[in-house]
């Protein structure tokens, strides 16, 4: 695999498309076990990301990711703002000065991202948060020597679905305790869109 500026921008555009068309769905998920704003938060944030990227010129992948981070930080009012903001910032820092990202570099960037999210959210795997998608993705990446786009997507999908059976112990859903069981975690669903979009970009690039 190889990621260049063009692919990263396309990754964000595809993510945005998925989020815009699933805005109501994300909202309904967050209404069930949260405050109902995750659809709005993500739709607003990624629309601004796409606007920002399309109106800027970039030399390095890290600069694109930095802008993604800053835009999400300033435009997403919920917990997903600082969390995704941190994730993309960590990726940006990990990929500093690189023009074409190769697989080991990408792996390292995602590892840094998930560590950042865990630190920011003071959360670990199994607490019914987006970490329950990001960490399985890291495990999956660690096991491969080359990125299989389709498998990336299905790994994220399975991880997202598995959040249904978890009891939330972090984030707003944690207030609901047992009642959070039986519902998908909204942030895990939006994280799935992010990796599904990446998978599509990689497939096209392949």
């Amino acid at each position: 695999m190889e990621l260049q500026i063009k692919q990263v921008i396309s990754w964000m555009e595809k993510t945005n498309e998925k989020i815009q068309s699933n805005k109501e769905y994300l909202t309904s998920l967050d209404q069930a076990i949260g405050d109902g704003d995750h659809g709005l938060n993500m739709a607003r944030g990624f629309q601004e990301v796409v606007n920002k990227l399309s109106s800027s010129n970039y030399t390095y992948v890290s600069d694109v990711l930095k802008d993604v981070s800053m835009t999400l930080l300033s435009k997403v009012g919920g917990a997903s703002g600082p969390l995704y903001g941190t994730a993309f910032l960590k990726m940006s820092t990990a990929l500093k000065g690189i023009e074409t990202v190769d697989y080991p570099q990408f792996k390292k960037a995602v590892v840094e991202a998930v560590n950042g999210v865990k630190e920011r959210g003071k959360a670990n795997k199994g607490e019914k948060t987006m970490i329950d998608v990001w960490e399985p993705i890291v495990d999956f990446l660690q096991k491969q020597d080359n990125l299989e786009a389709k498998e990336l997507e299905s790994t994220a999908e399975k991880a997202m679905e598995a959040t249904q059976d978890l009891k939330a112990t972090k984030g707003r859903a944690a207030y609901l305790k047992e009642r959070s069981i039986g519902h998908l975690d909204p942030g895990s669903v939006s994280s799935y869109y992010i990796f599904a979009a990446l998978s599509e970009v990689l497939e096209e690039g392949a």
């Binding site: 300033s74 435009k75 009012g77 703002g81 600082p82 903001g85 920011r120 959210g121 707003r172």
Partner: protein, 126 residues
């Protein structure tokens, strides 16, 4: 002589405005800066608002940040990591009650550490 600055962070702009009104009755001369709501004023939090509030509240005595729920704490911690100032700290205390006690203590010229301790222990005192 300056006093420890207070930054109030809430998902709701009204909440922090109201708390400031209550504080100002008793404590006129302590920096109290607000970061309520998102960048467009709806329910949520915004790291840039927090950064601005820190900037405006800052002096050599330092600044303490009080927050309400979830993302407010994350954005507060982010803002602290992003600032170049050293004496900036997030306090784990009830927003209204902690900030009220902190403002009073700050007005008495206490240090950052003293003010923080009083705020954290607000529910032990009474």
């Amino acid at each position: 002589m300056s006093n420890v600055g207070i930054v109030l962070i809430s998902h709701s702009p009204k909440v922090v405005e109201g708390i400031k009104d209550i504080i100002r009755q008793m404590v006129p001369d302590v920096p109290v800066e607000l970061a309520g709501g998102t960048d467009d004023g709806s329910i949520g939090t915004n790291v840039e608002k927090i950064q601005n509030a820190i900037e405006n509240a800052y002096n050599e005595k330092g600044v303490l940040l009080f927050f309400d729920l979830g993302s407010a704490m994350m954005n507060a911690e982010l803002a602290v990591e992003m600032t170049d100032y050293e004496k900036v700290k997030v306090v784990k205390a009830p927003l209204l009650e902690g900030a009220y006690v902190a403002a009073v203590e700050s007005g008495m010229g206490k240090t950052l550490e003293e003010v923080e301790k009083a705020a954290r222990n607000v529910f032990d005192q009474t």
